[in-house]
């Protein structure tokens, strides 16, 4: 019987090698993949998020932990699919039109993948039509919009308006983030959620996806 506490510790420490090794041992010992995720990996990522909020952890630590978790999830994916498990949700993520910055967006994308989401990264300077297309073609239920510049924030509103125009706004939840974005701005433009950091974005995405399923 492998020591599963080691899995928790390895994800928390961003140690991909160990986390993958323990996952392999656990699978060999016939432990349920879902249990590995819900009892060890997700709590570890929650602790990573808590430490990030307390500023014990910064972006590098977030990335390493997400990478460790992603490594484990890749091992589990086939097994989970065989069990009939679906990804938490399909997310289309992108930096809005006019904004070329992609670090924040990439970070949230990596953390969402680590959190079990299927992520369609549309890139930077993304026209509203591309989001619409992703909703229509990819079965996306969550749209994540990023902007780093105050001057490109209005593009978030334009994007949401375009989704309404195209009649797909109600098929998805929309979350927004980026350095200059605020909750007030998110409310103003009719987004469903806002988070002020990459780690909280994953929790927000989970909450919005749960709403989506419930509604």
């Amino acid at each position: 019987m492998p020591d599963l506490q080691k899995l928790y510790d390895a994800v928390l420490d961003g140690d991909q090698k160990t986390s993958v090794a323990v996952t392999q041992e656990a699978l060999a010992a016939q432990i349920d993949p879902l249990e590995l995720i819900t009892k060890y990996m997700v709590p570890a990522m929650d602790e990573v998020g808590r430490r990030f909020e307390c500023e014990d952890y910064f972006v590098p630590e977030l990335l390493l932990s997400a990478r460790a978790m992603k490594g484990c999830l890749e091992l589990l994916r086939l097994l989970l699919a065989a069990q009939g498990s679906q990804p938490v949700a399909r997310v289309a993520i992108g930096t809005v039109k006019g904004d070329l910055h992609d670090i924040g967006k990439n970070l949230v994308g990596s953390l969402l993948e680590g959190g079990g989401f299927e992520v369609f990264d549309l890139g930077a300077d993304v026209a509203p039509e591309k989001f619409i297309q992703a909703i229509r073609d990819k079965g996306v239920t969550l749209v994540a919009l990023s902007a780093l510049l105050t001057v490109t924030m209005p593009s978030m509103r334009t994007t949401i308006d375009a989704l309404k125009q195209a009649g797909v706004r109600d098929q998805v939840k929309i979350m927004v983030g980026g350095a200059p974005v605020t909750q007030q701005f998110a409310d103003e433009i009719g987004a469903d959620g806002y988070s002020d950091n990459a780690s909280a974005a994953v929790a927000l995405a989970r909450r919005l996806s749960a709403l989506e399923v419930a509604s």
Partner: protein, 290 residues
């Protein structure tokens, strides 16, 4: 006496303010790379530089923040690397007319080394190409600014030092409860020590938060190394009013922080996002009054 110390012989120098917002006032569109205006609208770029010299800037930068090989190739502009950087320096030198020094601006690649989206050798080549183009065009010094990753800054610094010019490295401390960490978690102490060890001529802080947050960062940079300190603060935090972006800080409020910053050891003082020639005028007035 090093090149930089000789420039600082008569005391701290006033640098310039924001370029991006000034260029937008002149018609630069959202999403358009400001650096491309060096070729398409050199007169407008020169008018921004000249306005700063007129306002009292003793050091002005260049409109070359994004002209590294990685950012340019993403934008399909790699073939123009040499031209964009050369004209950037030429424009600022024309505007300076010998009345101000020209420090050439080099921004980060916008890619993260640790996610593996770029390799260290690619980053080094990208900065080396930009630095050598800027140096060949006659920049007085090179400024690596808005850095957040100490490792990327170290690679950029190593590449930039090969030009033989003084190199200043400035970080954006915009994270953490006290806005005293970079996005990648680096503290002023970590940044200052690493850059001094790697051969920088000065270290600094730019962008990030409003000027009121810069005093502790300036003090900590100064205490952590023996290098001159470079400070370029934002005009407070941007606010959105009726769809337009405004900065809450006035030129007067901004300049009122100058004495404390100079007192705590800032050798170069200027403004970042949201500041204008008025801010520099107020800084220059404040400095000559003190």
């Amino acid at each position: 006496l090093s090149q930089l110390s000789s420039w600082l012989q008569n005391g701290p120098l006033i640098t310039d303010g924001a370029w991006g917002t000034q260029l937008q006032n002149l018609g630069l569109e959202l999403g358009q790379m400001p650096d491309t205006w060096n070729l398409s609208h050199p007169d407008r770029v020169e008018s921004v530089a000249a306005a700063y010299v007129e306002a009292g800037s003793q050091v002005i930068l260049t409109n070359t923040f994004r002209s590294n090989a990685i950012t340019l190739s993403e934008a399909g502009l790699l073939a123009q690397l040499e031209d964009l950087n050369r004209t950037g320096v030429e424009i600022s030198k024309r505007a300076a007319g010998g009345r101000a020094l020209v420090f050439a601006s080099i921004g980060p690649t916008g890619k993260m080394l640790m996610t593996g989206e770029v390799r260290a050798d690619e980053v080094e080549e990208a900065f080396a190409a930009q630095a050598s183009a800027l140096a060949a065009a006659g920049a007085d010094a090179l400024l690596l600014e808005t850095m957040s990753d100490v490792e990327e800054a170290r690679i950029a610094l190593t590449a930039a030092l090969r030009t033989g010019l003084p190199v200043i490295v400035s970080f954006a401390f915009d994270s953490g409860k006290n806005k005293d960490r970079t996005m990648m978690g680096a503290t002023p102490e970590m940044a200052a020590r690493a850059m001094e060890e790697a051969g920088a001529s000065a270290v600094g802080a730019n962008c990030g938060a409003g000027i009121e947050r810069f005093l502790p960062v300036c003090q900590r940079l100064k205490a952590a190394c023996s290098l001159p300190v470079w400070i370029k603060a934002n005009a407070g935090l941007p606010e959105l009013q009726g769809g337009a972006v405004t900065y809450s800080t006035s030129a007067g409020f901004f300049a009122s922080h100058a004495p404390a910053l100079l007192e705590s050891g800032a050798s170069f003082l200027g403004g970042c996002c949201g500041t204008s020639p008025d801010f520099i005028r107020a800084l220059a007035a404040q400095r000559s009054a003190s």
